[in-house]
Point group: C2
Chain length 139, copies 2
DNA sequence: GTAACTGCAAAATATTTGCATCCTT
DNA sequence: AAGGATGCAAATATTTTGCAGTTAC
């Protein structure tokens, strides 16, 4: 059922194209976050590198996906939940990065605690990334 | 006083060279974290791009600096505290990224809360990055 | 039909590698 | 003197930009 992808695209006022459907579909199918490289590999020769860059950028702007901070080079993207408006992300949930299989999970049910900052600092957004071993890779 | 840099290098079994002294000194002088670009700009023509790459890599391996996760492209590096052994970082403190001036602070006194993970997940490291406005940029 | 999206080419950037030379110990 | 560190050149990889052709609405 690729209808979900189409609905999402329409909801965000984007025209429905093959590229966008395929990429969005890929996000819907993968539990976790994806890097640009993941997508490029998955799509094979089907799409141009450049189109993927532009599509991801568009998705982020429209609030369909968001970036997840990581200490390594790779920028990871994950689907936003419904309450992400365009250009205004609310991703106050914890991300989990498995060191074993490399999967990034969005732990939607784990909320980010309020952090007490030193005087003069104002928090705007809080990103919390836990890394370790996921339930699949556990020995 | 550049002795501090020298001491640190020796403590980590690295030979003391001009490049390493200068870069480490730069870290010691800046309160926050630095990107590769920051360092390259600061050093000007003094050092080769490649040398900076290699130096940063060495410092990370030896546990002198660590990387800070971020959602944008730029990898940020910051000095480790003393309890970071080589190849085994313990940076369980909060990082703060000012959206205004771009400075990254290590909030050593703010500790990262324990996160309750779903069944089967084991935490190894927790990175918490708060972004907002710092005490200097406050209106 | 029109505006937006895509693919190709190419430019601009960033990162890595090999090797000869120089410096630290 | 020996091993490691640096600088240069060049190979790779990544990201951005311009433009012409194509597609969605």
């Amino acid at each position: 059922m690729q209808e979900a992808a189409i609905i999402t695209l329409k909801k965000h006022e984007l025209s429905v194209t093959d590229t966008r459907k395929k990429i969005l579909q890929f996000f819907l199918e993968s539990a976790g976050a994806l890097t640009h490289a993941d997508i490029e590999q998955q799509m094979g020769e089907a799409f141009d590198r450049v189109t993927i860059y532009r599509t991801l950028q568009t998705f982020v702007e429209k609030g369909i996906i968001h970036t997840i901070p990581s200490a390594d080079n790779a920028i990871r993207y994950a689907l936003c939940k419904d309450n992400c408006a365009a250009g205004h992300h609310h991703d106050d949930h914890v991300h989990f990065l498995c060191n074993d299989c490399g999967t990034t999970y969005c732990l939607d049910h784990v909320s980010v605690p309020k952090i007490k900052l030193p005087k003069g600092f104002t928090a705007n957004q809080t990103d919390l990334v836990v890394s370790g071993v996921c339930h699949k890779c556990e020995a």
